[in-house]
Amino acid sequence: VITPVDWAAVENAIHAWVAAGSGLAAGKVIWDDQGGPRPSVPFIALHREGPATKGLGVETRISPYTGGGPYPAVDVDAIAQKEFDLSVTAFTGPVTSGGSATALLDPVELNSHSQTQLLLFSQAGICCFDRGPVQNLSQVVETVFEGRALLRVRFRLVSGLNEQLGWIQTVGVVGTFQT
């Protein structure tokens, strides 16, 4: 039995963090790759990569299976530490200073260090452990600049699985056993 990660709760926590830090309305912070419309600027697109299990990453706990059944068995619980990347991309008009894309993402990054936000991440089962720099990726779109900035953040979480394995209860010998 695999206990799936509650990705909806994870995504909701991340979305709330970005919306609160950027000050944008909730509908202006979107998850990409959904085939939806592009909001008018300023807006922020979120993109998740992963997860990947890091290292061995598995701890096991073995206990007698108590669920009944035709044969004796044990419960094996495994927990994997996983890591995923988040790209936070801001899109704005061709402006500088406070309205720029980089200025939009700076408070988002800063807020990820606050004790309150770390607790909110924890309640969603994730831990923010690495934040990259806010990069200015402004581009020319047709004849004007579009302000773009990128913040990459890494998170860790755990996911578990449980499997029921049979075990050898008795061993018999047929014939003569010699030492």
Partner: protein, 115 residues
């Protein structure tokens, strides 16, 4: 349109505007259908040049429609109209020319996306 080519029955499937919820997830608009009589002919090489490069090797048909059809529109968040021709082939509207002032028709370039 009827004087230029033999029209056929074309079903137009049109989706309403999409929107995002408070968690940034999209809610696609519901779709509705209506029928039009339109002339459908293969697109010319010049027509294909109006489309993005990746679409020029697709099966593209020129559709002369008596009503305006929609391409994908980012500001209004409406997806492109999807056309089902009389033979069952499915096309997506990629380009629309408004000739309603001179010829009372709309020339549409549609790219095949399904059987």
């Amino acid at each position: 349109v009827k004087r230029q080519a033999v029209p056929q029955n074309v079903t137009v499937t049109r989706a309403a505007a999409s929107a995002y919820d408070v968690n940034g997830r999209v809610s696609l608009g519901s779709a509705s259908s209506f029928s039009i009589q339109a002339a459908v002919q293969p697109a010319t090489g010049r027509d294909l040049m109006r489309l993005p490069e990746a679409f020029r090797v697709s099966d593209v048909q020129a559709v002369w429609s008596p009503v305006p059809l929609r391409t994908f529109d980012q500001p209004s968040a409406t997806p492109a109209d999807v056309l089902t021709l009389a033979n069952g082939a499915i096309y997506q509207v990629e380009h629309v020319e408004d000739w309603s002032g001179n010829g009372t028709y709309f020339k549409v370039l549609a790219r095949r996306i399904g059987t």
